[in-house]
């Protein structure tokens, strides 16, 4: 074969080799990255802290643990009070925050979540006011039950909120991400209550903190593995660093809490601080992973092209037929 023929053959072969990397338009993203500010992952933390603390408080009260209950109610109020402020400050038009309650839309977890947060805030406020003043005890009890019930979805709906987008690393984790957030919320609420409650009354808070941290790390690990190639942001770049930091801090905090948190108030406070840093890092890792995922077209085009090649769908395209 002549040199020219070899070269020509190579050109022909090149056109037949399947592409390793999905095609793109100058490497540009297909999706727009989120426009959300750092207030949003902080809200993931405060919302989870407030919601889960309300549930913790009610159960402590039912078990007769007044000291833990009182503190957990105050933490809950802190969490659900900070949350709306963070969310309003994230809006492009903060003065229009009330438009969030113009409608109730189940296709929009942000709409449903706004109602959950509004309800949680109201009931927690009434519950704490009644608790502190002793006024209207019947109303206070009803408010406590409602706040405790709403606190659970308040802690996990934010996972559904980000999952209900086109961002592959979030949408692909729609079943497991709420468990990551549930674990983080439990760790947040447990850690805060364990730090503020006398040792002999803080047992449930410590167990919640340890269990939550372990659950969060295990669920995040499972999420990364089950996402396969889409999970790459959790091992690369900023999100990868945050993921490793979150895992390390959460497990270290949980270990300290389990080993020493029941014997030394200082150790309990230190463990709470480390745990809290860990779960905030976890929220941040999930948040940043969404940006990394939206910004690389391979995460968008790759799985879609693979679906088409597997014959599961024709996609949005119909080709011309030759002849006629």
């Amino acid at each position: 074969m002549t040199r020219e023929a070899v070269r020509a053959e190579r050109i022909r072969e090149r056109s037949m080799v399947p592409r390793a990397e999905p095609q793109s338009y100058y490497g540009q993203p297909v999706l727009k990255e989120p426009v959300w500010t750092p207030e949003v992952p902080i809200y993931f933390y405060t919302g989870g802290l407030g919601g889960t603390s309300a549930t913790l408080a009610l159960l402590a009260e039912l078990r007769g643990n007044r000291k833990l209950a009182r503190r957990a109610w105050l933490i809950a109020l802190g969490g659900v009070s900070a949350s709306p402020a963070l969310l309003i400050s994230d809006l492009g038009k903060p003065s229009r925050f009330l438009n969030m309650l113009r409608m109730f839309k189940v296709t929009s977890p942000m709409s449903v979540g706004s109602w959950i947060l509004a309800g949680s805030g109201t009931f927690t406020g009434i519950a704490v006011a009644s608790e502190l003043t002793g006024l209207y005890p019947a109303l206070g009890r009803a408010a406590k039950v409602n706040a405790a019930l709403l606190g659970l979805p308040l802690s996990t709906y934010t996972a559904g909120l980000v999952a209900n987008t086109s961002v592959p690393v979030w949408h692909g984790a729609r079943f497991i991400l709420p468990f990551v957030f549930a674990g983080s919320s439990a760790a947040s609420a447990g850690a805060a209550a364990a730090a503020l409650t006398p040792l002999r009354d803080a047992g449930p808070a410590r167990r919640l903190a340890v269990g939550g941290a372990v659950t969060s790390v295990a669920a995040a690990f499972t999420m990364e593995k089950t996402l396969g190639e889409l999970g790459e942001p959790y091992s690369k770049g900023v999100s990868g660093k945050l993921t490793r930091l979150a895992g390390g801090l959460s497990l270290a905090g949980a270990a300290l809490m389990a080993a020493r948190g029941g014997r030394s108030r200082g150790a309990a406070i230190a463990a709470s601080a480390v745990l809290t840093a860990g779960v905030i890092a976890e929220r941040w890792a999930v948040f940043r992973a969404g940006f990394q995922s939206a910004n690389d077209p391979k995460f968008t085009v790759g799985p879609q092209r693979a679906r088409i090649e597997r014959g599961e769908t024709r996609g949005a395209v119909r080709r011309a037929q030759a002849g006629a």
Partner: protein, 305 residues
Amino acid sequence: MPNPKLLELDTHSWPGSYGDSAEPRMGFFTDTSICIGCKACEVACKEWNQVPDSLQGFTGKSYDNTTALGANDWRHVAFIEQRTALGAEAAAEDLVQAAERANAADGWGLQTYQEGEGVRWLMASDVCKHCTSAACLDVCPTGALFRTEFGTVVVQEDVCNGCGYCVPACPFGVIDKREDDGRVWKCTLCYDRLREDKEPACAQACPTNSIQFGELGELRERAEKRLEQMGAAGQTEARLYGADSEDGVDGFGAFFLLLDEPEVYGLPPDPVVTTRHVGQVWAGVFAGAAALGAGIAAAFIGGRK
């Protein structure tokens, strides 16, 4: 061969919620095979809709300095320069010569920029797809995004509070937040002009009729004929994108005829409206909430209290 689903244009809220005041569903058929890349659509859109400028500088991406749709770019003309192995497909006996010329292009940066002589240019004017099942509209918590009487998807700027949920929800990366303004913006399919029986500015400005405006059902029939015509002429790389009701967004209100795979133009090959899985999303949320409740209860077992 008529597609039995061809005229299924209904959306969730159109025409149902409009009753007698529903207008025909209007849309665009953008035939990129006759786009000449003049960008008149970009200019006309900016002028009519008073869209702020969005100078990107020189990007080096062929003639494209707009780069993508966004809050300040509601039409975007993509330019793709493809080396077509110098006629290797068209004339197999010419392979040796083709390879030599490919080498010349590599070595000396020699490019002729003529169709059929080694480089082909794809030009395509992109726009909001006005999806039958629109993620932006579904996730909007304020109701600022709505379905018009023409079946199009429009943002009410006096309602939008800039929550930004629609931005990562859109499977095409169309809608975006305007930084200095805080609200989101995108193509309205010239809602104001439609109400005055005028065609959208981009379609009116297009000199080659690459951008065709009309009733969506009629546009789909026209596109079928065009696809058949191109197939008959041996242009089998031609394909319709978003012209059927069976895709992941149940059909586009603004669809396309493309000459390569959608991703080459920066478009997703199999876009799926995220809210198709909203039931699974809620199932996850409530399963997580239930597990959390069980976990909190478990924390009270085994201890002193």
